[in-house]
Symmetry: C2
DNA sequence: GTGCATTTGTTGAGATATCGCACAAAGCTG
DNA sequence: CAGCTTTGTGCGATATCTCAACAAATGCAC
């Protein structure tokens, strides 16, 4: 923390918050200290401050985050015009095709769902706005990686370990990079059971009026019911249509 | 900030983050300073810290929050077993009735949506997990207020100004308190266009195995299509059924 | 249980960083 | 260019951080 104009206390507090995950929803002072690398005394003061402000609960031993924490994130979700704009279009698209569709944005090596219209349950995990998946093995993630300068995409792929999620997952960065250049040429990405067995998905970029990629939009289908060719023949045209509608609306 | 073990820097930073709303997605240093009450120099350091950590973007003039902020909240969302548990039941309920249903929890004087299965668009505003509405005028909010000790509910109603959202909104705390005792007796809450014109809604508490109210679940319908009697006759039984299923599952 | 080793929560003091104020610099506007 | 608003920057006062020590709690072997 030697840089001027950087507040160490804020950075440490946010680090402490991020140590709370689905696997560790309740943590003691020492656990937060170990997970964050903060001194126990510092972790303790962060947590007491969070409790004092209502962002955390404290039972004398363990801390848990309260829903108040969500205010920090929702300000950002509400900030983005995207969810409001795309939700009705997504609903319509999903109804029309009878399949789930979603819009997500890129955050580092993850995609973050910002809107979703679900139909049947193809996936085992429940996706909702705010949910995250790795970018490298998802159709939407690859679309957004393809929109980055090649060097940036390479950095993202090098930073994460590319953990396989199924036997189909491509884990070689070079193979993914090659796929990205195909995506750039074709304007869409297609994955076949790389995220989850039985799930195929096709995605296109969501472009703004200036042609910049601001998000990605996909349709996910059951591998047992739809072939790869179906995805391109049946669903790509619909995605392209909504892509055009969105492009006209987004500033 | 004279209290021991309270970190002023963290508190100030979180305040700065909370000044970002849907109405003010992009803010300058002076705007954040004015909105938060922080000194400009302090607001500047907070914002630069957030930008340095990747929680905010800075174009030299305006700051915007990045999706990275969502990590803080998603840890909490993922923490709660509720969303994953209720989503499938909510989907089924919503399909069966052809109406939107939601589950929310109480945070202070607000309800926070944690899961939602949307059908037609009755409401003008888009609701999604993380969205907030005032508790006093919503069916789910009243269900959860009714579950509090009377004194706590009185505090909540006294703290907020009870701003009317439509001409139907009840803004007298005593009237709402009387309604709460009716809700305690009947086990459900019903609102008629108090949140938005044309919207009626009925809600029941989501109880855990020990009978404690952990959330609320509702169904919202168009006032032009469903009478108040319909809500009780047609939809309450379905809500009660799901309530029972949930109670068996929730620890 | 008892004794011992380890972990955890808390407290204190010096070193260090931040806060808020005042002022300088830089844009805007007419 | 004057007047106003906003942003950037030293500086003393003040609060926090780090590190250590210590007490309480916990775990464990027997």
């Amino acid at each position: 923390m030697l840089e001027r104009d950087i507040m160490g206390g804020l950075a440490k507090g946010l680090m402490a918050i991020e140590t709370f995950t689905a696997e560790r929803p309740r943590q003691s002072i020492a656990e937060v200290s170990a997970a964050s690398g903060l001194d126990r005394a510092t972790a303790r003061r962060c947590l007491l401050t969070l409790a004092h402000l209502g962002y955390a609960d404290y039972d004398g031993k363990y801390f848990t985050l309260t829903p108040r924490i969500l205010r920090l994130g929702t300000a950002c979700l509400a900030t983005m015009p995207l969810p409001q704009v795309v939700q009705p279009l997504l609903d319509q698209l999903s109804d029309e095709l009878g399949e789930s569709s979603s819009v997500s944005i890129l955050d580092g090596a993850d995609i973050v769902y910002v809107a979703r219209a679900a139909q049947r349950k193809v996936m085992s995990i429940a996706l909702m706005p705010g949910s995250r998946l790795p970018a490298f093995c998802t159709s939407m993630g690859r679309v957004m990686l393809a929109a980055l300068p090649e060097e940036r995409a390479r950095d993202v792929l090098a930073a994460a370990p590319l953990a396989p999620r199924t036997s189909f997952t491509r884990t070689d960065p070079e193979a993914v990079l090659a796929e990205l250049s195909r995506i750039r040429a074709d304007g869409y990405a297609l994955i076949d059971q790389e995220v989850e067995l039985g799930l195929r998905s096709i995605a296109v970029p969501v472009l703004n009026a200036r042609g910049a990629t601001v998000a990605a939009m996909n349709i996910g289908v059951s591998a047992t019911q739809q072939s790869v060719a179906d995805l391109v023949d049946l669903y790509l045209p619909a995605l392209r249509r909504v892509q055009g509608e969105l492009r006209a609306v987004l500033r």
